[in-house]
């Protein structure tokens, strides 16, 4: 690890809610931009070797981000994130659903509600994300839609590596 910034990830199985908290060594405005501007978002949203490709980004209440996770083989998994509320540099909320390449929402696939909060202290910006699912098993579908094959293997490798590293400490 290259820093000691906060990162925690917890899941409340009862409420089917995922909590992700992370600090960044950057000013609030910059982190806010990184989450809300297409050209920055696409640089980091997809864990490598996946790519994030945003086709439509309309950051306003009622607006949407229509984007794809593109696999190394070029396979595209499209999603629509609708912006349901926005308080600039403080928080925004989205409703996330899967779609086809023509932006038809797939109602059979799981959707989720996201709440993202931003705050800065001493030049460190903290982002707190809450993701509510209808069903915890939906996560499995998301995993299959987003990150099949290669990525899971990379993760397994990473997990082994992390285990080895933590044992050395």
């Amino acid at each position: 690890m290259k820093n000691n910034l906060l990162f925690d990830f917890t899941v409340d199985k009862k409420t089917k809610t995922v909590f992700v908290n992370r600090e960044f060594a950057a000013k609030l405005q910059l982190v806010w931009d990184a989450f809300t501007k297409q050209e920055i978002l696409d640089q980091w949203w997809a864990p490598k070797p996946w790519m994030s490709k945003t086709k439509v980004m309309n950051f306003e209440v009622g607006g949407r981000r229509f984007y794809a996770m593109v696999s190394p083989e070029g396979q595209e998994h499209w999603s629509v994130q609708k912006f349901t509320s926005i308080n600039p540099t403080i928080n925004f909320a989205i409703h996330s659903a899967f779609a086809d390449k023509d932006e038809n929402i797939n109602t059979e696939m799981p959707s989720s509600d996201w709440d993202l909060n931003f705050s800065e202290q001493d030049g460190i910006t903290k982002v707190s994300i809450t993701i509510k699912h209808k069903d915890l098993a939906d996560l499995e579908t998301m995993l299959q839609m987003g990150f099949q094959g290669g990525f899971t293997m990379t993760l397994n490798y990473l997990e082994d590596l992390l285990t080895t590293l933590s044992q050395q400490k």
Partner: protein, 106 residues
């Protein structure tokens, strides 16, 4: 056939049963004493949990004891850990992007 571990933990009564038998193996009657439902309802939950391979049965004399398959519960945590990894790598990439942007501004 139920084989989905998430079905096992989707119901509040089943979660309570899991918590109970995590501490010690129990008979269906002893488990049922903890709930305001019928013995039949508890049996049904135990059957689902068994089908999900989350609990195991053991015959002791005339009684059947139910206990938790700890390893199976750990699978859920392991599975959830994949999502942690996704966010982790996503955010590590964002660290790089942020630091690049900061340098460009200087």
């Amino acid at each position: 056939m139920r084989r989905d571990i998430f079905q096992a933990i989707a119901d509040p009564t089943r979660r309570a049963i899991i918590t109970l038998i995590a501490l010690q193996a129990m008979t269906p009657n002893a488990i049922a004493d903890n709930f305001n439902t019928t013995r039949q309802a508890v049996s049904k939950h135990l059957r689902i949990l068994t089908e999900c391979e989350l609990v195991k049965q053991e015959q002791q004399g005339r009684e059947i004891y139910y206990s938790l398959e700890i390893a199976k519960m750990k699978e859920i945590d392991k599975w959830l850990n994949q999502f942690k990894k996704i966010w982790e790598s996503r955010f590590n990439q964002l660290d790089d992007v942020l630091s690049t942007i900061k340098k460009q501004k200087k």
